[in-house]
Symmetry: C2
Subunit: 275 residues, 2 copies
Protein backbone atom coordinates (compact mmCIF):
# COMPACT_ATOMS: atom_id res chain seq x y z
CA UNK A 1 0.00 0.00 0.00
CA UNK A 2 2.99 2.28 -0.38
CA UNK A 3 1.95 3.52 -3.81
CA UNK A 4 -0.92 5.84 -4.14
CA UNK A 5 -3.58 3.95 -6.06
CA UNK A 6 -6.78 5.29 -7.47
CA UNK A 7 -9.69 3.10 -6.66
CA UNK A 8 -12.57 3.36 -9.05
CA UNK A 9 -16.06 2.22 -8.37
CA UNK A 10 -17.44 0.88 -11.61
CA UNK A 11 -21.05 0.31 -10.76
CA UNK A 12 -23.11 2.88 -8.95
CA UNK A 13 -26.73 2.25 -8.28
CA UNK A 14 -28.71 5.39 -7.55
CA UNK A 15 -30.48 4.44 -4.37
CA UNK A 16 -31.70 7.55 -2.74
CA UNK A 17 -31.64 10.02 -5.57
CA UNK A 18 -35.12 11.21 -4.68
CA UNK A 19 -33.85 12.56 -1.40
CA UNK A 20 -33.69 16.28 -1.03
CA UNK A 21 -32.47 17.82 2.16
CA UNK A 22 -34.02 20.60 4.07
CA UNK A 23 -32.47 23.97 3.35
CA UNK A 24 -30.48 25.88 5.92
CA UNK A 25 -33.47 28.14 6.64
CA UNK A 26 -35.69 25.15 7.34
CA UNK A 27 -37.70 25.37 4.11
CA UNK A 28 -37.88 22.63 1.52
CA UNK A 29 -36.63 22.75 -2.05
CA UNK A 30 -39.88 22.44 -3.98
CA UNK A 31 -38.60 21.26 -7.33
CA UNK A 32 -41.08 18.63 -8.31
CA UNK A 33 -43.63 19.04 -11.06
CA UNK A 34 -46.93 20.50 -9.95
CA UNK A 35 -49.36 18.05 -8.44
CA UNK A 36 -52.65 19.41 -7.21
CA UNK A 37 -52.87 19.43 -3.42
CA UNK A 38 -54.82 21.17 -0.77
CA UNK A 39 -51.92 22.60 1.17
CA UNK A 40 -48.39 23.79 0.50
CA UNK A 41 -45.72 21.11 0.71
CA UNK A 42 -44.53 20.73 4.28
CA UNK A 43 -42.03 17.91 3.95
CA UNK A 44 -38.84 17.24 1.96
CA UNK A 45 -39.09 14.87 -0.98
CA UNK A 46 -39.95 14.80 -4.65
CA UNK A 47 -42.89 12.44 -4.25
CA UNK A 48 -45.81 12.17 -1.85
CA UNK A 49 -44.34 8.84 -0.80
CA UNK A 50 -41.16 10.58 0.37
CA UNK A 51 -43.20 13.11 2.29
CA UNK A 52 -45.21 10.37 4.00
CA UNK A 53 -42.01 8.60 4.99
CA UNK A 54 -40.52 11.80 6.36
CA UNK A 55 -43.61 12.49 8.45
CA UNK A 56 -43.77 8.91 9.70
CA UNK A 57 -40.04 8.97 10.51
CA UNK A 58 -40.56 12.06 12.64
CA UNK A 59 -43.67 10.81 14.40
CA UNK A 60 -42.47 7.25 15.03
CA UNK A 61 -39.16 8.43 16.50
CA UNK A 62 -40.54 11.33 18.53
CA UNK A 63 -44.08 10.28 19.50
CA UNK A 64 -43.68 6.52 19.38
CA UNK A 65 -44.93 3.93 16.92
CA UNK A 66 -47.98 2.84 18.90
CA UNK A 67 -49.03 6.45 19.51
CA UNK A 68 -48.90 7.37 15.80
CA UNK A 69 -51.91 6.65 13.58
CA UNK A 70 -51.92 6.72 9.78
CA UNK A 71 -54.43 9.55 10.07
CA UNK A 72 -51.97 11.57 12.13
CA UNK A 73 -49.25 10.91 9.53
CA UNK A 74 -51.54 12.04 6.69
CA UNK A 75 -52.42 15.21 8.58
CA UNK A 76 -48.76 15.91 9.20
CA UNK A 77 -48.10 15.68 5.44
CA UNK A 78 -51.17 17.69 4.57
CA UNK A 79 -52.92 14.97 2.55
CA UNK A 80 -56.05 12.91 3.08
CA UNK A 81 -55.80 9.56 4.84
CA UNK A 82 -57.23 7.92 1.71
CA UNK A 83 -54.33 9.33 -0.31
CA UNK A 84 -51.86 7.82 2.14
CA UNK A 85 -53.42 4.38 1.61
CA UNK A 86 -52.67 4.77 -2.08
CA UNK A 87 -48.97 4.48 -1.19
CA UNK A 88 -49.01 2.28 1.92
CA UNK A 89 -51.64 -0.27 2.85
CA UNK A 90 -50.76 -0.41 6.56
CA UNK A 91 -48.73 1.34 9.21
CA UNK A 92 -46.41 -1.70 9.23
CA UNK A 93 -45.74 -1.08 5.52
CA UNK A 94 -44.61 2.44 6.34
CA UNK A 95 -42.40 1.18 9.16
CA UNK A 96 -40.88 -1.41 6.85
CA UNK A 97 -40.11 1.18 4.17
CA UNK A 98 -38.48 3.43 6.76
CA UNK A 99 -36.36 0.64 8.18
CA UNK A 100 -35.31 -0.35 4.68
CA UNK A 101 -33.85 3.11 4.23
CA UNK A 102 -31.29 2.20 6.91
CA UNK A 103 -29.91 -0.80 5.01
CA UNK A 104 -30.74 -0.52 1.29
CA UNK A 105 -28.13 2.09 0.35
CA UNK A 106 -25.36 0.07 1.99
CA UNK A 107 -26.54 -3.17 0.40
CA UNK A 108 -26.41 -1.46 -2.99
CA UNK A 109 -22.92 -0.21 -2.24
CA UNK A 110 -21.51 -3.69 -1.56
CA UNK A 111 -21.34 -4.90 -5.19
CA UNK A 112 -19.63 -1.65 -6.11
CA UNK A 113 -17.00 -2.28 -3.44
CA UNK A 114 -16.37 -5.74 -4.82
CA UNK A 115 -15.63 -4.33 -8.26
CA UNK A 116 -13.17 -1.69 -7.18
CA UNK A 117 -9.88 -1.95 -9.10
CA UNK A 118 -7.29 -2.74 -7.92
CA UNK A 119 -9.11 -5.22 -5.70
CA UNK A 120 -9.33 -4.14 -2.08
CA UNK A 121 -8.07 -6.24 0.80
CA UNK A 122 -10.59 -7.48 3.39
CA UNK A 123 -9.61 -4.84 5.99
CA UNK A 124 -9.90 -2.12 3.32
CA UNK A 125 -13.37 -3.35 2.38
CA UNK A 126 -14.59 -3.59 5.97
CA UNK A 127 -13.29 -0.11 6.72
CA UNK A 128 -14.88 1.51 3.67
CA UNK A 129 -18.12 -0.39 4.25
CA UNK A 130 -18.30 0.75 7.87
CA UNK A 131 -17.67 4.41 6.97
CA UNK A 132 -20.32 4.33 4.22
CA UNK A 133 -22.84 2.48 6.39
CA UNK A 134 -22.18 4.69 9.39
CA UNK A 135 -22.78 7.83 7.35
CA UNK A 136 -26.07 6.40 6.14
CA UNK A 137 -27.20 5.77 9.69
CA UNK A 138 -26.30 9.28 10.81
CA UNK A 139 -27.38 11.31 7.82
CA UNK A 140 -31.16 11.13 7.92
CA UNK A 141 -33.45 13.69 9.44
CA UNK A 142 -34.71 11.12 11.97
CA UNK A 143 -32.97 8.40 13.96
CA UNK A 144 -34.62 5.52 12.13
CA UNK A 145 -32.26 2.93 13.63
CA UNK A 146 -33.94 3.64 16.98
CA UNK A 147 -36.91 1.73 15.58
CA UNK A 148 -34.93 -1.55 15.41
CA UNK A 149 -35.85 -2.54 18.95
CA UNK A 150 -39.55 -1.72 18.76
CA UNK A 151 -41.61 -4.53 20.28
CA UNK A 152 -43.92 -4.04 17.32
CA UNK A 153 -41.18 -5.45 15.08
CA UNK A 154 -41.77 -8.92 16.44
CA UNK A 155 -43.95 -10.88 14.13
CA UNK A 156 -44.77 -7.85 12.02
CA UNK A 157 -44.63 -8.35 8.27
CA UNK A 158 -41.35 -6.52 7.93
CA UNK A 159 -40.05 -8.13 4.76
CA UNK A 160 -37.99 -7.26 2.83
CA UNK A 161 -36.33 -5.27 5.65
CA UNK A 162 -35.65 -8.23 7.94
CA UNK A 163 -33.92 -10.33 5.31
CA UNK A 164 -32.06 -7.30 3.95
CA UNK A 165 -30.68 -6.50 7.39
CA UNK A 166 -29.67 -10.13 7.82
CA UNK A 167 -27.89 -10.07 4.44
CA UNK A 168 -26.00 -6.98 5.53
CA UNK A 169 -25.10 -8.57 8.89
CA UNK A 170 -23.79 -11.68 7.14
CA UNK A 171 -21.68 -9.60 4.77
CA UNK A 172 -20.02 -7.86 7.72
CA UNK A 173 -19.63 -11.22 9.42
CA UNK A 174 -17.88 -12.95 6.52
CA UNK A 175 -15.51 -10.05 5.93
CA UNK A 176 -14.78 -9.83 9.64
CA UNK A 177 -14.21 -13.57 9.98
CA UNK A 178 -11.60 -13.46 7.24
CA UNK A 179 -9.75 -10.64 8.94
CA UNK A 180 -10.02 -12.15 12.43
CA UNK A 181 -8.62 -15.43 11.15
CA UNK A 182 -5.71 -13.70 9.43
CA UNK A 183 -4.89 -11.93 12.70
CA UNK A 184 -5.37 -14.87 15.05
CA UNK A 185 -8.36 -13.25 16.76
CA UNK A 186 -11.18 -15.35 18.26
CA UNK A 187 -13.78 -15.79 15.50
CA UNK A 188 -16.51 -14.77 17.97
CA UNK A 189 -15.28 -11.18 17.56
CA UNK A 190 -16.45 -11.22 13.95
CA UNK A 191 -20.03 -10.32 14.86
CA UNK A 192 -18.97 -7.13 16.61
CA UNK A 193 -18.07 -4.78 13.72
CA UNK A 194 -21.69 -4.87 12.51
CA UNK A 195 -22.86 -4.15 16.05
CA UNK A 196 -20.39 -1.30 16.41
CA UNK A 197 -21.74 0.43 13.32
CA UNK A 198 -25.28 -0.01 14.56
CA UNK A 199 -24.22 1.51 17.88
CA UNK A 200 -24.17 4.81 15.94
CA UNK A 201 -27.92 4.74 16.51
CA UNK A 202 -27.14 5.46 20.17
CA UNK A 203 -24.79 8.28 19.18
CA UNK A 204 -27.22 9.89 16.74
CA UNK A 205 -28.03 12.76 19.06
CA UNK A 206 -24.40 13.93 19.14
CA UNK A 207 -24.64 17.68 18.40
CA UNK A 208 -23.87 18.70 14.79
CA UNK A 209 -20.21 19.48 14.29
CA UNK A 210 -16.88 17.96 13.30
CA UNK A 211 -17.10 15.44 16.15
CA UNK A 212 -20.35 14.01 14.77
CA UNK A 213 -19.07 14.12 11.19
CA UNK A 214 -16.06 12.03 12.13
CA UNK A 215 -17.96 9.37 14.06
CA UNK A 216 -18.26 6.96 11.11
CA UNK A 217 -14.50 7.05 10.53
CA UNK A 218 -13.77 6.43 14.20
CA UNK A 219 -16.28 3.59 14.29
CA UNK A 220 -14.70 2.10 11.15
CA UNK A 221 -11.28 2.25 12.80
CA UNK A 222 -12.75 0.48 15.82
CA UNK A 223 -14.34 -2.16 13.57
CA UNK A 224 -11.01 -3.25 12.11
CA UNK A 225 -9.22 -3.03 15.47
CA UNK A 226 -11.81 -5.41 16.92
CA UNK A 227 -10.74 -8.07 14.43
CA UNK A 228 -7.06 -7.52 15.06
CA UNK A 229 -5.89 -4.76 12.70
CA UNK A 230 -3.30 -2.91 14.75
CA UNK A 231 -3.13 0.34 12.81
CA UNK A 232 -6.27 1.40 10.93
CA UNK A 233 -4.62 4.61 9.71
CA UNK A 234 -3.14 2.64 6.84
CA UNK A 235 -6.69 2.13 5.56
CA UNK A 236 -7.82 5.75 5.58
CA UNK A 237 -6.49 6.72 2.19
CA UNK A 238 -8.12 3.79 0.44
CA UNK A 239 -11.49 4.50 2.08
CA UNK A 240 -11.28 8.15 1.09
CA UNK A 241 -10.45 7.23 -2.50
CA UNK A 242 -13.29 4.75 -2.76
CA UNK A 243 -15.89 7.03 -1.24
CA UNK A 244 -14.97 9.95 -3.47
CA UNK A 245 -14.08 8.09 -6.67
CA UNK A 246 -15.50 9.66 -9.80
CA UNK A 247 -15.71 13.01 -8.08
CA UNK A 248 -18.27 14.33 -5.69
CA UNK A 249 -20.96 14.77 -8.33
CA UNK A 250 -21.28 11.31 -9.80
CA UNK A 251 -20.74 9.89 -6.37
CA UNK A 252 -23.61 11.83 -4.97
CA UNK A 253 -26.12 9.06 -5.37
CA UNK A 254 -24.11 6.91 -3.07
CA UNK A 255 -23.03 9.21 -0.37
CA UNK A 256 -25.08 12.41 -0.51
CA UNK A 257 -24.59 13.08 3.15
CA UNK A 258 -25.39 16.19 5.00
CA UNK A 259 -22.47 18.19 6.26
CA UNK A 260 -23.26 19.80 9.54
CA UNK A 261 -20.09 21.56 10.49
CA UNK A 262 -21.00 24.91 9.00
CA UNK A 263 -24.66 24.66 9.81
CA UNK A 264 -25.35 24.28 6.12
CA UNK A 265 -27.03 21.28 4.67
CA UNK A 266 -25.32 20.48 1.41
CA UNK A 267 -26.06 17.70 -1.02
CA UNK A 268 -24.72 16.69 -4.38
CA UNK A 269 -27.94 17.63 -6.13
CA UNK A 270 -27.28 21.18 -5.10
CA UNK A 271 -29.91 22.82 -7.17
CA UNK A 272 -29.97 20.53 -10.17
CA UNK A 273 -31.93 17.40 -10.88
CA UNK A 274 -30.27 13.98 -10.64
CA UNK A 275 -29.03 12.79 -14.00
CA UNK B 1 2.01 -9.48 35.12
CA UNK B 2 4.10 -12.63 35.01
CA UNK B 3 3.26 -13.66 38.57
CA UNK B 4 -0.11 -14.99 39.41
CA UNK B 5 -1.67 -12.42 41.68
CA UNK B 6 -4.85 -12.74 43.66
CA UNK B 7 -7.04 -9.74 43.30
CA UNK B 8 -9.34 -9.14 46.19
CA UNK B 9 -12.36 -6.96 46.14
CA UNK B 10 -12.60 -5.39 49.55
CA UNK B 11 -15.96 -3.72 49.39
CA UNK B 12 -18.99 -5.52 48.10
CA UNK B 13 -22.30 -3.78 48.01
CA UNK B 14 -25.24 -6.14 47.74
CA UNK B 15 -27.10 -4.60 44.86
CA UNK B 16 -29.46 -7.14 43.49
CA UNK B 17 -29.71 -9.63 46.28
CA UNK B 18 -33.49 -9.55 46.14
CA UNK B 19 -33.46 -11.03 42.69
CA UNK B 20 -34.59 -14.60 42.35
CA UNK B 21 -34.56 -16.27 38.97
CA UNK B 22 -37.31 -18.28 37.40
CA UNK B 23 -36.86 -22.02 37.80
CA UNK B 24 -36.22 -24.32 34.86
CA UNK B 25 -39.88 -25.42 34.84
CA UNK B 26 -41.05 -21.83 34.62
CA UNK B 27 -42.30 -21.56 38.20
CA UNK B 28 -41.04 -19.06 40.73
CA UNK B 29 -39.24 -19.78 43.98
CA UNK B 30 -41.75 -18.49 46.52
CA UNK B 31 -39.53 -17.98 49.50
CA UNK B 32 -40.76 -14.74 50.96
CA UNK B 33 -42.72 -14.47 54.17
CA UNK B 34 -46.47 -14.74 53.80
CA UNK B 35 -48.23 -11.56 52.75
CA UNK B 36 -51.96 -11.76 52.25
CA UNK B 37 -52.96 -11.48 48.59
CA UNK B 38 -55.82 -12.38 46.38
CA UNK B 39 -53.95 -14.57 43.92
CA UNK B 40 -50.93 -16.85 43.91
CA UNK B 41 -47.62 -15.13 43.15
CA UNK B 42 -47.06 -15.01 39.42
CA UNK B 43 -43.79 -13.14 39.22
CA UNK B 44 -40.25 -13.61 40.55
CA UNK B 45 -39.16 -11.39 43.40
CA UNK B 46 -39.23 -11.18 47.15
CA UNK B 47 -41.28 -7.98 47.27
CA UNK B 48 -44.34 -6.71 45.46
CA UNK B 49 -42.11 -3.98 44.07
CA UNK B 50 -39.95 -6.63 42.37
CA UNK B 51 -43.02 -8.29 40.93
CA UNK B 52 -44.33 -5.00 39.56
CA UNK B 53 -40.97 -4.31 37.93
CA UNK B 54 -40.87 -7.77 36.40
CA UNK B 55 -44.36 -7.36 34.95
CA UNK B 56 -43.58 -3.88 33.64
CA UNK B 57 -40.31 -5.12 32.16
CA UNK B 58 -42.16 -7.79 30.24
CA UNK B 59 -44.99 -5.56 29.07
CA UNK B 60 -42.84 -2.54 28.12
CA UNK B 61 -40.43 -4.68 26.10
CA UNK B 62 -43.01 -6.92 24.44
CA UNK B 63 -46.15 -4.75 24.12
CA UNK B 64 -44.54 -1.33 24.05
CA UNK B 65 -44.42 1.45 26.62
CA UNK B 66 -47.28 3.52 25.23
CA UNK B 67 -49.51 0.45 24.92
CA UNK B 68 -48.99 -0.57 28.57
CA UNK B 69 -51.16 0.99 31.29
CA UNK B 70 -50.48 0.81 35.02
CA UNK B 71 -53.77 -1.07 35.31
CA UNK B 72 -52.52 -3.69 32.88
CA UNK B 73 -49.29 -4.03 34.90
CA UNK B 74 -51.24 -4.46 38.14
CA UNK B 75 -53.44 -7.13 36.54
CA UNK B 76 -50.37 -8.93 35.25
CA UNK B 77 -48.98 -9.04 38.82
CA UNK B 78 -52.32 -10.00 40.32
CA UNK B 79 -52.70 -6.95 42.55
CA UNK B 80 -55.04 -3.97 42.58
CA UNK B 81 -54.07 -0.82 40.69
CA UNK B 82 -54.28 1.09 43.98
CA UNK B 83 -51.67 -1.24 45.46
CA UNK B 84 -49.35 -0.52 42.55
CA UNK B 85 -49.58 3.22 43.26
CA UNK B 86 -48.33 2.49 46.75
CA UNK B 87 -44.97 1.61 45.17
CA UNK B 88 -44.86 3.82 42.06
CA UNK B 89 -46.67 7.11 41.57
CA UNK B 90 -46.51 7.09 37.77
CA UNK B 91 -45.68 4.86 34.82
CA UNK B 92 -42.56 7.00 34.29
CA UNK B 93 -41.43 6.07 37.82
CA UNK B 94 -41.66 2.40 36.92
CA UNK B 95 -39.74 2.98 33.69
CA UNK B 96 -37.06 4.88 35.60
CA UNK B 97 -36.69 2.09 38.17
CA UNK B 98 -36.37 -0.48 35.39
CA UNK B 99 -33.78 1.53 33.52
CA UNK B 100 -31.82 2.04 36.74
CA UNK B 101 -31.50 -1.73 37.01
CA UNK B 102 -29.34 -1.61 33.88
CA UNK B 103 -26.74 0.73 35.41
CA UNK B 104 -26.92 0.60 39.23
CA UNK B 105 -25.14 -2.74 39.75
CA UNK B 106 -22.23 -1.65 37.57
CA UNK B 107 -22.00 1.74 39.26
CA UNK B 108 -21.81 -0.04 42.61
CA UNK B 109 -19.09 -2.29 41.27
CA UNK B 110 -16.79 0.56 40.25
CA UNK B 111 -15.58 1.53 43.76
CA UNK B 112 -14.87 -2.14 44.45
CA UNK B 113 -12.71 -2.29 41.30
CA UNK B 114 -10.76 0.75 42.46
CA UNK B 115 -9.89 -0.94 45.74
CA UNK B 116 -8.62 -4.19 44.31
CA UNK B 117 -5.11 -5.03 45.57
CA UNK B 118 -2.69 -5.08 43.89
CA UNK B 119 -4.01 -2.08 41.98
CA UNK B 120 -5.23 -2.91 38.50
CA UNK B 121 -3.93 -1.25 35.35
CA UNK B 122 -6.35 0.81 33.25
CA UNK B 123 -6.76 -1.92 30.60
CA UNK B 124 -7.42 -4.48 33.35
CA UNK B 125 -10.07 -2.25 34.88
CA UNK B 126 -11.77 -1.51 31.58
CA UNK B 127 -11.84 -5.19 30.70
CA UNK B 128 -13.27 -6.32 34.04
CA UNK B 129 -15.78 -3.46 34.01
CA UNK B 130 -16.98 -4.37 30.52
CA UNK B 131 -17.41 -8.06 31.40
CA UNK B 132 -19.33 -7.23 34.56
CA UNK B 133 -21.47 -4.61 32.85
CA UNK B 134 -22.13 -6.80 29.83
CA UNK B 135 -23.31 -9.65 32.04
CA UNK B 136 -25.69 -7.29 33.80
CA UNK B 137 -27.19 -6.21 30.50
CA UNK B 138 -27.68 -9.79 29.33
CA UNK B 139 -28.78 -11.47 32.51
CA UNK B 140 -32.25 -10.09 33.11
CA UNK B 141 -35.48 -11.72 32.10
CA UNK B 142 -36.30 -8.80 29.78
CA UNK B 143 -34.19 -6.72 27.44
CA UNK B 144 -34.45 -3.52 29.46
CA UNK B 145 -31.72 -1.78 27.46
CA UNK B 146 -34.12 -1.81 24.52
CA UNK B 147 -36.00 0.91 26.39
CA UNK B 148 -33.10 3.38 26.09
CA UNK B 149 -34.28 4.71 22.75
CA UNK B 150 -37.95 5.11 23.66
CA UNK B 151 -39.24 8.46 22.46
CA UNK B 152 -40.98 8.67 25.83
CA UNK B 153 -37.57 9.06 27.45
CA UNK B 154 -37.27 12.57 26.12
CA UNK B 155 -38.20 15.06 28.74
CA UNK B 156 -39.58 12.39 31.05
CA UNK B 157 -38.61 12.68 34.69
CA UNK B 158 -36.08 9.91 34.48
CA UNK B 159 -33.79 10.92 37.29
CA UNK B 160 -31.78 9.36 38.82
CA UNK B 161 -31.39 7.04 35.81
CA UNK B 162 -30.24 9.70 33.35
CA UNK B 163 -27.49 11.04 35.56
CA UNK B 164 -26.47 7.54 36.65
CA UNK B 165 -26.06 6.44 33.04
CA UNK B 166 -24.06 9.57 32.32
CA UNK B 167 -21.79 8.84 35.32
CA UNK B 168 -21.22 5.34 33.99
CA UNK B 169 -20.51 6.65 30.50
CA UNK B 170 -17.96 9.11 31.88
CA UNK B 171 -16.24 6.41 33.88
CA UNK B 172 -15.79 4.33 30.73
CA UNK B 173 -14.67 7.44 28.88
CA UNK B 174 -11.96 8.43 31.36
CA UNK B 175 -10.57 4.91 31.59
CA UNK B 176 -10.64 4.57 27.80
CA UNK B 177 -8.99 7.96 27.26
CA UNK B 178 -6.08 6.92 29.47
CA UNK B 179 -5.58 3.71 27.53
CA UNK B 180 -6.01 5.34 24.13
CA UNK B 181 -3.42 7.97 25.02
CA UNK B 182 -0.95 5.33 26.21
CA UNK B 183 -1.37 3.50 22.90
CA UNK B 184 -1.31 6.51 20.60
CA UNK B 185 -4.92 5.98 19.53
CA UNK B 186 -7.14 8.91 18.51
CA UNK B 187 -8.93 10.08 21.69
CA UNK B 188 -12.23 10.05 19.79
CA UNK B 189 -12.16 6.25 20.08
CA UNK B 190 -12.55 6.57 23.83
CA UNK B 191 -16.33 6.89 23.62
CA UNK B 192 -16.69 3.57 21.82
CA UNK B 193 -16.08 0.98 24.56
CA UNK B 194 -19.19 2.20 26.41
CA UNK B 195 -21.15 1.98 23.17
CA UNK B 196 -19.84 -1.49 22.44
CA UNK B 197 -21.08 -2.79 25.78
CA UNK B 198 -24.45 -1.18 25.19
CA UNK B 199 -24.58 -2.88 21.79
CA UNK B 200 -25.23 -6.06 23.77
CA UNK B 201 -28.79 -4.78 23.89
CA UNK B 202 -28.97 -5.61 20.19
CA UNK B 203 -27.51 -9.07 20.81
CA UNK B 204 -29.82 -9.88 23.70
CA UNK B 205 -31.92 -12.27 21.65
CA UNK B 206 -28.93 -14.53 20.93
CA UNK B 207 -30.21 -18.03 21.78
CA UNK B 208 -29.16 -19.39 25.19
CA UNK B 209 -25.91 -21.32 25.02
CA UNK B 210 -22.16 -20.94 25.36
CA UNK B 211 -22.08 -18.38 22.54
CA UNK B 212 -24.38 -16.05 24.47
CA UNK B 213 -22.57 -16.69 27.75
CA UNK B 214 -19.27 -15.63 26.23
CA UNK B 215 -20.55 -12.44 24.61
CA UNK B 216 -19.52 -10.16 27.52
CA UNK B 217 -15.94 -11.48 27.39
CA UNK B 218 -15.75 -10.98 23.63
CA UNK B 219 -17.19 -7.50 23.93
CA UNK B 220 -14.68 -6.70 26.68
CA UNK B 221 -11.84 -7.89 24.43
CA UNK B 222 -13.20 -5.65 21.68
CA UNK B 223 -13.41 -2.70 24.10
CA UNK B 224 -9.72 -2.78 24.89
CA UNK B 225 -8.73 -3.46 21.27
CA UNK B 226 -10.65 -0.34 20.24
CA UNK B 227 -8.35 1.77 22.42
CA UNK B 228 -5.22 0.08 21.15
CA UNK B 229 -4.57 -2.97 23.32
CA UNK B 230 -3.15 -5.49 20.88
CA UNK B 231 -3.66 -8.69 22.85
CA UNK B 232 -6.56 -8.74 25.32
CA UNK B 233 -5.86 -12.35 26.30
CA UNK B 234 -3.30 -11.05 28.78
CA UNK B 235 -6.20 -9.47 30.69
CA UNK B 236 -8.40 -12.55 30.98
CA UNK B 237 -6.85 -13.99 34.10
CA UNK B 238 -7.10 -10.74 36.01
CA UNK B 239 -10.76 -10.30 35.05
CA UNK B 240 -11.55 -13.84 36.10
CA UNK B 241 -9.82 -13.33 39.44
CA UNK B 242 -11.62 -10.10 40.15
CA UNK B 243 -15.04 -11.40 39.21
CA UNK B 244 -14.69 -14.51 41.32
CA UNK B 245 -12.62 -13.13 44.19
CA UNK B 246 -13.75 -14.26 47.60
CA UNK B 247 -15.27 -17.36 46.07
CA UNK B 248 -18.50 -17.81 44.22
CA UNK B 249 -20.66 -17.50 47.32
CA UNK B 250 -19.63 -14.14 48.72
CA UNK B 251 -19.38 -12.86 45.20
CA UNK B 252 -22.97 -13.70 44.48
CA UNK B 253 -24.28 -10.26 45.12
CA UNK B 254 -22.05 -8.83 42.44
CA UNK B 255 -22.27 -11.27 39.62
CA UNK B 256 -25.10 -13.71 40.21
CA UNK B 257 -25.59 -14.33 36.56
CA UNK B 258 -27.76 -16.93 34.97
CA UNK B 259 -26.02 -19.70 33.08
CA UNK B 260 -27.99 -20.72 30.09
CA UNK B 261 -25.85 -23.38 28.49
CA UNK B 262 -27.73 -26.39 29.83
CA UNK B 263 -31.11 -24.78 29.56
CA UNK B 264 -31.13 -24.46 33.34
CA UNK B 265 -31.38 -21.17 35.05
CA UNK B 266 -28.95 -21.32 37.91
CA UNK B 267 -28.01 -18.60 40.33
CA UNK B 268 -25.60 -18.39 43.22
CA UNK B 269 -28.40 -18.32 45.76
CA UNK B 270 -29.34 -21.78 44.63
CA UNK B 271 -31.95 -22.51 47.20
CA UNK B 272 -30.64 -20.55 50.13
CA UNK B 273 -31.10 -16.99 51.20
CA UNK B 274 -28.36 -14.44 50.58
CA UNK B 275 -26.23 -13.96 53.66
Amino acid sequence: MGDRCFYRVTDMTPVISSYEPMRHDGTMPLTRAGRPRLTAQRRPGTTARDEILDAAGELFTTQGYAATSTRYIAESVGIRQASLYHYFKTKDDILCALLSQTVSPTLSFIPALAEVQPAMTAPQRLHALAVFDGRQLLRGRWNLGALYLLPELRGAGLEPFSSDRERLRRHYLLLSQTIAEDNGVDPAAADLPFRLVEALVNMWSTPPGPQRDQLPEHVADACVRVVGVADPRALHECTREVLTSGGEESHGEIAPRMTWDTGDVVNHVNGRAPQ
